[in-house]
């Protein structure tokens, strides 16, 4: 919205903002309040189709799906944010050091990230989970570790590009200390590239978390999570399609929203 009226990039940003805005709003609201209890069961309301009372219908235990989607969304968003926060900070630290200084440490870190990148991320996360055990914290930790390399690469290449820039050379001549050069002179200049990768990383984290819950190793019942709901719903696709559609479309909505949002940012800068 720097150039109002030009509009070319605005559509992405606006659409992305609206979609993620709604998702975030529901997710954050879900942390504190849901229309119905997410675990209260009711035998008389098993598999109610979507209606005004239950706008997404009810599941096999008569639980309100909309409430569970809200709760699942907040779980997913919290896990996604923590994963991104963890992996992005580690990525900045490692990328900055290796990119700026280079040398043997750079070589080692890069080979390790190559190795980690060589595995499919979900598979690697599965291995970590089997070592650490199920549960929310372990999912965050496992996914956090798995996603570090992508940030390291981006941050490192940007630091390599900027470390020989004139203004950095002058700063060095003036005797600015290295830490300051790294985090005050270079870091702010790579944020445009970095934000985009954070957005993409957030999407990946959401998908990975849903995937792991779908496989039964992420968030454990009776806590709601979108992936687990999908896998539960699988057996009822024919007689209660709304059960699968609600969490499925929610994931699409969130991922699409963030994709549009990051595309909008990329085009704006």
């Amino acid at each position: 919205m720097r150039k109002p009226g030009s509009g070319k990039w605005n559509k992405y940003l606006t659409a992305g903002l609206i979609m993620t805005g709604i998702a975030l709003l529901l997710g954050i609201l879900g942390l504190f309040w849901t229309p119905y209890s997410t675990t209260a069961m009711s035998a008389s309301e098993k598999f109610d189709a979507p209606s005004l009372r239950h706008i997404f219908g009810t599941d096999n235990f008569g639980r309100d799906i909309f409430s569970r989607v809200m709760k699942g969304l907040s779980t997913t968003i919290v896990i996604g944010s923590l994963v991104v926060a963890f992996s992005a900070s580690a990525g900045i630290l490692l990328g900055a050091l290796t990119g700026y200084f280079g040398g043997l440490v750079d070589e080692i870190v890069m080979r390790v990230t190559d190795a980690v990148n060589g595995f499919p991320s979900i598979l690697l996360a599965l291995v970590l989970i089997s070592l650490l055990g199920n549960g929310r914290q372990n999912v965050i930790l496992a996914l956090g570790i798995v996603f570090i390399p992508s940030y390291v690469r981006i941050v490192r290449s940007e630091f390599i590009r900027l470390r020989d820039a004139d203004y950095i050379g002058r700063a060095r001549l003036m005797g600015v200390c290295r830490i300051r050069i790294l985090f005050v002179h270079i870091l702010p200049n790579i944020f445009s590239v970095f934000w985009v990768s954070v957005m993409i990383g957030f999407n990946n984290a959401i998908l990975a978390e849903s995937g792991m819950s779908y496989l039964g190793i992420g968030v454990q019942p009776p806590d709601a999570s979108l992936g687990k709901m999908l896998s539960d719903a699988q057996g009822y696709l024919q007689n209660a399609p709304w059960y699968a559609l609600a969490p499925g479309l929610t994931i699409v909505w969130v991922v699409l929203g963030f994709s549009l949002f990051s595309e909008g940012i990329r085009r704006r800068v």
Binding site: N60, F61, Q234, L237, N239, S259, E263
Partner: protein, 522 residues
């Protein structure tokens, strides 16, 4: 620009499709299946034909192929096809002669004389001799090397060969139920340690191969002593740990028989498969570790029993088809079972639960960890319902899902757990389930400790008069229920899906999958 938007949309859709992918694939196939078989009558019309092979979906890996060492019910139900004892269970829950053609029991109940059947052959071709029987019984009872592999047989004091076709077994104490223990597999003399690699028995099917995590394949034993059986040439027991996957495999046609359907799955398959249902031999309960500091208080255990709404569990999971129980005996054992559902009621009695908790010093509730073998969707879902029910009594229960092997190791054998939702299978003897709640029983994984119970059990086992015996068993159930040894929930109905072309599936009151009577209809 439009292209960009489109591609973005597509990527988002595709990435999500990965999650739901398996689901939609399977059902896609199934609709094709429905149209080909759905309209026809689901009972196979023709006569029994010989030949063909079927794939049976099973829920868990094998714990041992050695019939004397196997303990998991999921293993025994398969080994039933490979091994036989002197006698074997029939579909009415009685015993029929198998390797033995006849037997007599002395009047004092201490000497059993078995006459071997003519011409029974092992899968390796050799004829079963008295030597083999002696070896098998001695191995199982621990007479061979001091470690009884089958604990109910440890009362055997000697096994003597009278002649080629006659074996005499002497026992230390009379027990009218002991004859049920002679279902213990007969294996070739000296084959003991080889059995776990290449099992050789006398059953209707012989062992072909076993691949861990995948399954076990057996083929027809053409020398089988029951003429005309089995019908099938080959049976493949395929391990499918998730019931969701099993449903998809059924619909996709890669499994012909699946015996562990959930209620909703049965509804979904109705129309494309034969759906058969019968009471299972499984006692499902929220088993409570009586040695746990919290659960050692009988009031806490009773509070949990009161807080459970068994009717709701039955309704949610079994569509109302299960049998609700309050004690550890199968209701199908009619002459021994006593209905104690009035003690705690089948619905929830939250006030009573809270009162007991307050008495015990926990007026505000407590934390409870429920360990559940996660490969059993049925137990997992039961746990979800139970957690919710306990919550209304202020009990904060959490589910800890574990792998089946970890469950066996930690909960069943190690007894390191607080509570667990699982199912125990019973055989057709009333003593089988009651035996395990004696203090010293190896199988007493709930650490039930009641002196009166142990006393009555000894009397029950010794009683020769059926009426008297039944009386003692009813007393045992009463103690188990009053002391709330565990929160017994239900005996689930067993619902199986059968390929519409198959016939002859037989339900047993015990937990076995008898494939010998299954056939393709012509």
């Amino acid at each position: 620009m439009k292209k960009k938007l489109l591609s973005l949309l597509l990527t988002a859709l595709l990435t999500t499709a990965v999650l739901g992918g398996c689901g939609s694939d399977g059902t896609g196939e199934s609709s094709g299946n429905n149209s080909s078989t759905g309209s026809s009558a689901l009972e196979p019309a023709g006569d029994a034909a010989y030949g063909g092979s079927v794939v049976v979906g099973i829920q868990q890996d094998i714990d041992s192929l050695d019939p004397h060492k196997a303990t998991a019910a999921g293993t025994k139900e398969i080994l039933f096809n490979i091994f036989e004892g002197l006698v074997k269970p029939d579909k009415n829950g009685d015993l029929m002669n198998a390797v033995a053609s006849d037997y007599t029991v002395s009047e004092d109940g201490l000497v059993y004389t078995f006459t071997l059947r003519e011409g029974v052959k092992f899968h390796n071709g050799s004829v079963v001799t008295a030597e083999d029987v002696k070896y098998s019984l001695e191995r199982a009872s621990g007479l061979l090397d001091g470690t009884p592999l089958i604990s109910s047989l440890k009362v055997l004091t000697s096994v003597d060969i009278i002649d080629e076709k006659t074996v005499q077994v002497t026992v230390g104490g009379a027990n009218t139920e002991l004859i049920y223990s002679f279902v213990a597999a007969i294996i070739p003399a000296g084959s003991g340690e080889d059995e776990s690699g290449t099992p050789v028995g006398t059953g209707p099917f012989s062992f072909v191969s076993y691949t861990p995590q995948e399954g076990i394949v057996v083929k027809k034993n053409s020398d089988y002593w029951q003429k005309g059986l089995p019908y099938l040439d080959e049976v493949n027991f395929k391990i499918v740990t998730s019931t969701d996957t099993a449903l998809l495999e059924l619909q996709g046609g890669s499994i012909d028989i699946y015996p562990y359907l959930t209620d909703s799955q049965a509804n979904e398959l109705q129309g494309s498969f034969q759906i058969l249902s019968a009471p299972s031999a499984v006692v499902q309960a929220l088993y409570l570790n009586n040695a746990d500091p919290l659960l050692s208080d009988v009031r806490i255990r009773q509070a949990i029993c009161y807080a459970l709404d068994k009717d709701a569990v039955n309704d949610f999971l079994a569509g109302g088809n299960a049998t609700i129980i309050s004690t550890g005996m199968l209701p199908t054992l009619q002459s021994y079972y006593v209905d104690l559902n009035d003690v705690y009621g089948t619905g929830a009695n939250i006030d009573k639960a809270k009162e007991l908790m307050a008495d015990a010093g926990y007026p505000d509730g407590f934390d409870l960890e429920i360990t559940v073998p996660s490969n059993y969707e049925y137990h997992m879902q039961t746990a979800e319902v139970v957690v919710e029910q306990l919550k209304s009594a202020g009990i904060n229960a959490v589910i800890r899902p574990v792998e089946w092997n970890a469950w066996l190791e930690d909960c069943y054998n190690g007894r390191k757990y607080q509570s667990t939702i699982s199912g125990l299978t019973s055989d057709a003897t009333p003593g089988y389930m009651m035996n395990r709640f004696q203090k010293e029983s190896k199988k007493n994984f709930i650490n039930f400790d009641n002196a009166e119970y142990d006393e009555v059990y000894v009397k029950a086992a010794a009683a020769m008069d059926p009426e008297e015996k039944a009386g003692y068993y009813k007393q045992l159930q009463q103690i188990l229920c009053d002391e709330a040894g565990s929160a017994f929930i239900q005996v689930p109905a067993i619902t199986i899906a059968l390929n519409p072309k198959l016939g002859g599936y037989t339900f047993y009151p015990v937990y076995v999958q008898d494939m010998s009577t299954v056939y393709y209809a012509e």
